[in-house]
Each structure stands twice: as C-alpha cells, then as structure tokens.
C-alpha cells in the first residue's frame, strides 16, 4: 500500500491498465472460456507487467540522477550492479504482485475465473517472467541513462512488444516476414508457458526459451552497465549529477 501511495504510477500499470484491457476484451467480444480465458488473462497480466517494468524499472538510474544521488550510487561501498539488481527486482516484484491480484479479482468479477491445472509450474512461469523483467529493466535503465529522452523511448517500446509477442493478437495476424522478431521477446514464451501450465500440460520448451532470453538480457544488462560505469568514471563523459 505504501508503494502504491508513494508511486501512483503503480496504480496505472498494476490496476487501471489490466482492468481496462480486460473490460475491452470481455465486453467487446463476449465471455471467453477455458483456454481462451487463460490466454486473455495471461496476456493482460504480462502486458501490464511489461508496461510497469519499462516505466518503473527502466527509470531507476534516471531517478537517481534526478534526485542527485547517482554519483553516490556509482561510487558506493557496495557494487552498484548489485544494488541496481536489487532495485530492479523490487521494481519488478511490486507491479507483478499488484497486476496478478488485479487480474485475478477482475476475472472473478467478470465471472470467468481461471482454474490452473498445474499451479506449481504456473508459479515457476510467473517467477521466470519476473526475473526476465528484472534483467530487462536493468538493461533498459542503463541504456536510458545515455539520453534525456528516456521517457519517450520507454513509451515507444510498449506497443512493438505487445504486437510482436502475440499476446492478445496472435502473430499469425502479421506478415510472415516480421513474425520472427517475436522470438526475441521473452513475454511470448512466458505466455505460452503460463497458458500451457494453466491447462495442465506445461510447455517446457517455452520455459527453456524464456530462461535463455533471461540470460541474454542479463548479460546485455551487465555489459551495458559496465559501459555506463566506464563512461562515467574512466572517461568522464557521462554526467552523474
């Protein structure tokens, strides 16, 4: 509750966005059932979660710079990468929990509660999605430090991912030439695994691809943060204050 009070944007990504998307899908289309309902719920969950990750996680270092603590952050006793990872994890977990609760409550209110046949694997999928979001948030927040237009970039990244991941709109609706781009979006595999787990037939190849992309994002995050560190402390070309 304190997090939500302190950052009203959590309400946008965690409550408002998933609620409105579910209302649109349910009332424009009619009641989805079974696997369709699970697909819609996980799609909305992941979309709202991705939106929060891009807005909250990716803004961590920019916020440090805005309030004047970035220099201390980079020169602290603890490894800045460790602190950043912790902050990114916090920025991922809070919206993930809020969004999950919102989607679950909305599905009940819309009289379409989802039954999860493999709850254990479903939780594993959610945790993997959160870790993947954490890695991505860490990567983006390092990149966004290089430009003062991070806000615009954050917002520009939302819809390409929603479209390419095939969350609410199946990739078959797009030209064949661009469908392969969705392979690099972890949300696609997260949804595939979560839907399969809810049906009791976990798709482990999707989980493996989700894990692989998480590792790729994490390596890219570490590399880009080292680059930021180099620019700031060795070359002195990145303003920290």
């Amino acid at each position: 509750m304190m997090v939500v009070r302190a950052h009203p944007l959590f309400l946008l990504g965690g409550v408002l966005q998933p609620s409105v998307l579910l209302l649109v899908v349910f009332f424009a289309r009619g009641q989805p059932t079974g696997e369709q309902a699970a697909r819609v719920a996980t799609a909305v969950l992941l979309m709202a979660y991705w939106g929060s990750t891009v807005w909250q996680g990716a803004a961590i270092l920019r916020r440090e710079r805005l309030i004047g603590t970035l220099a201390h952050f980079m020169r602290g006793v603890r490894s800045p990468m460790l602190v950043l990872t912790g902050k990114a994890l916090g920025a991922s977990i809070a919206p993930a929990l809020l969004t999950s609760v919102t989607v679950a409550v909305m599905m009940v209110l819309l009289r379409s509660p989802i039954s999860v046949a493999s709850p254990g694997w479903f939780v594993v999928g959610l945790v993997a999605a959160v870790l993947s979001g954490t890695a991505l948030g860490t990567l983006l927040c390092s990149l966004f430090l290089l430009t003062r237009f991070g806000g615009q970039l954050s917002s520009a990244l939302l819809y390409p991912v929603f479209l390419l991941a095939g969350l609410l709109i199946p990739v078959e609706f797009f030209p064949a030439g661009i469908r392969w781009l969705g392979w690099f979006v972890s949300l696609r595999w997260a949804q595939q695994f979560l839907v399969s787990a809810s049906q009791g037939t976990p798709d482990f190849s999707a989980l493996a691809l989700l894990g692989l992309l998480m590792v790729v994002y994490a390596v890219a995050a570490v590399t880009s943060f080292r680059r930021i560190d180099h620019l700031a402390r060795v070359r002195g070309t990145l303003e920290l204050g």
Binding site: H7, P8, L9, L11, L12, L16, Q17, V20, L23, V24, V25, F27, A28, R29, F149, Q152, L153, S155, A156, L158, Y159, P160, F162, L163, L168, I169, P170, F173
Partner: protein, 263 residues
C-alpha cells in the same frame, strides 16, 4: 490592454509554447519515438478489433482507435504544458501576468493539438493501408473535420486534468493524464460499443470523444449525426469552462494564501 497588446501577447505565448515543446520533444525524437508509438497503438487496438470481431470488429475499432491515439497528445502530453512551470518554479510569473492563466496554457498547448491532428490523419492513412481498409480509409479522410473537433474537446479535458496535476502532488501529472486516457478507452465507445455496460455508458456520456465518435459512426452508416456532433461541442465547452474555473480559482487561492507548493 489594447487589442494590439493582446495580440502581441497571444503570439508571444504561442511562440513560447512551440519553443518549450521543441526543447522537450525535438523533431528527431518525435518522429522516431512519439509518432511511431502513436501509430502502433492505433494499429494494436485496430487489430484487437479484428481478433475480437473479424472484419466488422476491425472496422469498428479502427474508427475508435484513431480517437484514442489523439488522446496521447491532448490528454497525456498536454499535462506537461502547465507542469513545466511547476518544474521550473516559474508559475508565479504566469499567475502575475495580465493574460488569464487558462488562456496562457490553452495557447501554449497548440503544438500538441496540431500533433494530435496530424497523427490522426497519419493513422487513417497508414493503419488503414496496413489493415487493408481502403474504402473506410477514404470515408474517414472525409470526416477528418470531426476528428479535429475531437482534438479540441479532448484538449479542453486535458487542460482540466492538467490543472489538477499542477496543483496536486508531484507525479500526479502522468497519473491524471493516463487516467483520462484509460477512461476514454473504456467508456467512450471507441472499442466497446455503447449499450453493453450501463455504468460505462454513464461515464462516457460526460467524456469527450463519445458523442463525436457516435457522430462519425452515424455518418458512416448514413444516419443523422448532427445532434451527436452538437453534444460533443457542448461536452467540450463544459470541459473548457471547468478548466477556466479551476485555473482561475487555484491561481487566486495561491495569490491570497501564498502557501502552495506551486510557486
């Protein structure tokens, strides 16, 4: 203040509005991030309609998605116009000027209104082409004047929302603008046809876009549409009046008490 003075001030406010807008959103950034995001959002909601209701659903959401895209500029980004004075601690200059506060912000918002209109036209052309809706695309191009009216009415609502953001807690600007946009997505009839959810219809009837979209859809169906258009004008005027009253009241309260965070 003479007419010549007044017109000079209006021109100056318009120039400052453009300079501020370009400083925060250089053309290269606008063309590479903001406009593509707007077009992709329109494409997303249009294709969602196709998934939900086939070709008819896609045509329905295409008309509404263009209106939703306009709100990116007239509801979300417009909050930045007065907020720049809060961030720079320059609001005291605005409230002590001879021009009324709401008029200053209305004039400074013009680049966003123009952007909203341009992007609406681009959405009709590009999303129409991508989703192969050529006939509807041509029909909508003829109805661009109604979309221009929607730019103005939603801009009036955006300025009202911005006044709440300006005098509220820090960070409220993003929240209030986005809240307005989500309300319009859910209740304006852009995606969910009117008559399906009573409480959404009730909310939507006082929001901008709702009646204008009904006018567009009625026009497309060959039905009478002027009454809907007049309703949209009335709703827009009400939001404009609300903005005038809120800015005037807040500015007077700050002048009298001198205790607000907005300086």
């Amino acid at each position: 203040m003479s007419w010549a003075d007044a017109s000079d001030r209006v021109v100056l406010a318009a120039k400052i509005g453009l300079r501020e807008h370009l400083a925060d959103n250089p053309l290269s950034v606008t063309l590479s991030t903001t406009w593509p995001r707007a077009l992709l959002q329109c494409l997303f909601f249009t294709m969602l309609g196709r998934v939900i209701g086939g070709a008819d659903g896609q045509a329905y959401t295409f008309v509404g998605s263009i209106a939703i895209t306009i709100t990116l500029f007239t509801l979300v980004q417009i909050c930045d116009v007065p907020m720049r004075d809060r961030w720079s601690s320059t609001f005291y200059r605005i409230r002590s000027s001879e021009m009324p506060v709401p008029l200053v912000y209305a004039i400074r918002s013009w680049p966003l209104l123009v952007e909203g209109a341009l992007v609406a036209v681009l959405c009709i052309l590009l999303v129409g082409l991508f989703t192969v809706q050529f006939a509807l695309m041509l029909q909508l191009l003829a109805l661009v004047p109604i979309y221009l009216l929607l730019v103005l009415t939603s801009g009036a609502a955006g300025l009202t929302a911005a006044s709440v953001a300006l005098f509220g807690r820090a960070g409220n600007d993003v929240f209030v603008g986005n809240l307005g946009q989500y309300l319009i997505i859910a209740a304006s009839g852009a995606l969910i046809p009117p008559g399906r959810v009573a409480w959404l219809d009730a909310i939507g009837s006082v929001l901008p876009m709702r009646h204008g979209l009904l006018a567009i859809r009625s026009n497309l169906a060959g039905e009478p549409w002027l009454a809907h258009l007049l309703c949209e004008v009335v709703v827009g005027l009400c939001w404009g009046l609300a903005a005038v009253l809120l800015y005037t009241y807040m500015a007077r309260r700050i002048r009298r008490n001198d205790h607000d965070k907005v300086t």
